[in-house]
């Protein structure tokens, strides 16, 4: 059951799920073992990421998901008065 949860997270494009897992695995390792430990070099996953990203961009277009033109609540935007 435990392993199942790590295997079943999908990509928005069904065809991209394998690429996504390959990339996530590479990234998570770099993040924990290099980035958080203060290593300033970038992640070694760029090649996998490029392939994965191409696949996702295609899926986003096919499904007509409006990821562009969104007014995003960025971290630097002033906080609303509460």
């Amino acid at each position: 059951l435990f392993l199942g949860y790590f295997i079943t997270m999908n990509s928005v494009g069904e065809a991209c799920t394998d690429l996504k897992r390959e990339y996530d695995q590479c990234f998570n390792r770099w993040f924990a073992e290099h980035f958080l430990k203060g290593d300033r070099s970038g992640d070694p996953c760029t090649e996998t990421f490029r392939k994965y990203q191409r696949c996702v961009q295609k899926a986003i277009k096919e499904k007509d998901i409006p990821i562009d033109g969104v007014e995003f609540m960025g971290p630097n935007k002033d906080k609303p008065d509460s």
Binding site: T8, N10, S11, V12, L36, G42, Q53, V56, I65
Partner: protein, 179 residues
């Protein structure tokens, strides 16, 4: 009409442990409504902070009556998320907003994870959300309902982080050595 909601939670783990879990929060059993997560863009800025833009595919568990009022059967909703991990300052900041159903409702959320100022062994998560329901009567009723569901979801999110942490610990120390 809009409602602002906020809360705070303390994890009994150091910042690094919590951040590692937060970065791989999905999938987890507490948020089965998140059905897909994709990284759209990721980069280090000049200060060495890690920026991630992600797309979350979610199934909103909106009650039938809410769907009826909103007049939609669409349950698949997409959320865009931008996170920044600053390991020098030990701060992770995450903002998200829905990018579909925006003509009906918007949920903007901001989460910040930092070490507790007096105890570096524990981590504080502050969380706030702005919920706006547009152009329907009963909107304040709906907003109240969304705020209650935010609180329930926040609790699930904390449980999820704890769950990830405990399960990664187990990963490092298997109960049985089968190899």
């Amino acid at each position: 009409m809009m409602k602002i909601w906020s809360t705070e939670h303390v994890f009994s783990y150091p910042w690094e442990t919590v951040i590692k879990a937060a970065m791989r929060k999905y999938p987890n059993p507490m948020n089965p409504n998140v059905v897909g997560v994709d990284v759209l863009d990721r980069s280090l800025d000049a200060e060495g902070r890690l920026h991630s833009h992600r797309l979350l595919s979610t199934e909103w568990g909106l009650p039938g009556i809410v769907r009826a009022i909103l007049g939609t059967n669409q349950t698949q909703t997409y959320v865009k998320e931008h996170s920044i991990v600053d390991r020098e300052e030990k701060k992770m900041e995450l903002c998200s907003t829905n990018i579909t159903l925006t003509n009906l409702i918007s949920v903007d959320e901001r989460l910040v994870y930092t070490p507790h100022p007096e105890n570096p062994e524990v981590t504080v998560l502050t969380q706030e959300a702005i919920i706006t329901v547009k152009g329907v009567s009963l909107s304040s009723y709906l907003e109240g309902m969304m705020v209650r569901s935010m609180s329930a979801n926040a609790r699930k999110g904390w449980d999820a982080i704890e769950w990830i942490i405990q399960n990664s610990e187990r990963e490092n120390h298997p109960l049985c050595d089968i190899y």
